[in-house]
Each structure stands twice: as C-alpha cells, then as structure tokens.
C-alpha cells in the first residue's frame, strides 16, 4: 500500500512537472515566473487539507480519546506546517519579480503567516508537555481553535482590499484562466494531494512506532 502510494505520488509529480513546464504555455502578462503557481497553489491547498484533517481528528480525539486520531492530527499538522511554509516561501520568491517586493503586510500574507505560526505553536505545545494524554488534549483544543483561521485566510482576499489577487480556482463563478493552465493546476493538485497522503501515512507509522518504543 505504502509502495503503491509512493509510486502514484512520483508518477503524479512527474505528470505535474510535464504539465507545468511542457504543456502549459508561457503566461502572457507574468511570463514564465507564473510557473511557480503550479507549486505555490497546490501547496496551499495541501496546507488547508492538512489542517482540516487536524480539526476532524482533534474532535474525534476529544470525543473518543482515540490514540490513532491523536497521531493522525499530529502527523497532519506537521505535514501542513511543511506545506504552508513552502507556500509562504514560494509566494515570496514569486512576489519579488511580480510585485517588486519579497514581502508585504497584505491581508492574505499576514493571515497565512498567522496560520503557519499557530500550527507551529501546536507542534511546539505537543513537544513541551511531558504527560502524553495532557499534551494530546491541549493540542486537540488548539487544533480546533486554529482551524477557524482557515476561512479567514481563504476569504481574506475577498473581504479586504489586498495586493494578493482573488482566488483563481476556489472562487464563485468561472475561473479566469485558460483551460490548459487550469488543467496543469488540477494535475498538480492531485499530485500534491497524493504526496500529502504519502507523507501522512509514513508520519503516522513513525508516531505509532515511537509510542510502541516508549511503552
């Protein structure tokens, strides 16, 4: 199962690269720097997905005290932080040639940074509390509270006037991009979702082995 998922992930990422660099055309306004979007947009999608999984797993943990749900939340938060960090870094690299700055305190950039710091805090909290059960309980509460920031990040570009453009795909109405660019984005969405699933599976397994070693 793990091997199959790994194989599908590699296949998906290869297809994503082919679509992003070989099939999708050079964007007329931004030039080739727009190709960073095939990395940046799927990364933020995986960040959202990972934190929604943290939310669900945290609720399940608080309701049933299931160690499996706690491990899932922990693993998903870690992978989510990884991809959110990647989103911020790739966005900054794209921003320099496009906006003329690496960083600006725009509503989207600020809210996504808060999201990143909150889940980084979630991971630190888990590491700081020695009592495993207590740490899991506190983390679950934080995992639920932090999730309220996800819609804030997503809709920040609609609620406030920002330098960051409005959502391209997950917005009401038809996407304002040509079909081939949309297709390249969708292929990368699938590839990154597979990569998330692969990392999550492996991280959950490592956490289970760590719990067995401590027992």
């Amino acid at each position: 199962m793990k091997r199959l998922l790994g194989f599908l992930t590699v296949l998906g990422l290869a297809a994503g690269l082919v679509m992003g660099f070989g099939v999708a055309p050079r964007e007329a306004t931004q030039g080739n720097v727009q190709r960073i979007m095939y990395l940046h947009v799927p990364s933020v999608w995986v960040g959202y997905l990972a934190f929604v999984v943290v939310l669900v797993a945290s609720i399940v943990y608080l309701a049933r005290r299931s160690e499996a749900a706690d491990r899932l939340a922990h693993a998903s938060a870690e992978v989510g932080v990884l991809f959110t960090g990647l989103t911020i870094a790739t966005g900054s690299i794209w921003g320099k040639p496009t906006w003329g700055t690496w960083w600006t305190w725009d509503a989207r950039l600020t809210s996504v940074s808060i999201l990143f710091v909150m889940y980084l805090g979630y991971l630190l909290l888990r590491g700081m509390i020695d009592d495993r059960e207590r740490g899991a309980r506190f983390a679950a509460v934080l995992g639920i509270v932090a999730a309220f920031n996800i819609p804030l990040v997503h809709f920040s570009v609609l609620w406030w006037r920002t330098l960051h453009q409005p959502p391209t795909l997950m917005a009401p109405g038809p996407a304002p991009v040509p079909g081939i660019i949309k297709a390249a984005l969708y292929v990368n969405f699938v590839a990154f979702t597979l990569l998330y699933g692969y990392f999550l599976t492996r991280r959950v397994r490592v956490l289970r082995l760590e719990a067995e070693a401590e027992a």
Binding site: V33, L82, I93, L209, A213
Partner: protein, 61 residues
C-alpha cells in the same frame, strides 16, 4: 515581462530540497524505530533462552 527563470529555479529547487529532506527524515526515523523494535523483542526473548545456563551454573559461593 522578463522570464525570471532564476526565480522559477529557486522556488522549485527549494521545494525539492525541503520535500526530499523531510522524506529522508521519515524513512531514516522509521528504520531506526524498526531496528530498535527488533532489538527490544530479542532482549525480551533472551532471558528465556539463557535460563537453562543460569540453572546449570549453580549457586555462587
């Protein structure tokens, strides 16, 4: 608009480094824990295997 390939390369290069480093961390940690698990199991079985030797040795002076 210039193409800015250096920025494209930097973004994809950074992603490759981050993702491969994390993947390698997961693989290495999994192997470490698996090896430690095998060693623990061996240690658990060891007292049973050494029990006959212990009885053969007899009481210490």
């Amino acid at each position: 608009m210039p193409d800015n390939w250096a920025f494209v390369l930097a973004a994809y290069g950074l992603a490759v480094v981050v993702l491969v480093t994390y993947w390698r961390f997961l693989v290495r940690r999994e192997h470490e824990l698996q090896d430690a698990g095998v060693m623990r199991q061996q240690l658990r079985h060891e007292p049973d295997a050494s029990a006959p030797h212990a009885t053969q040795r007899g009481p210490l002076p």
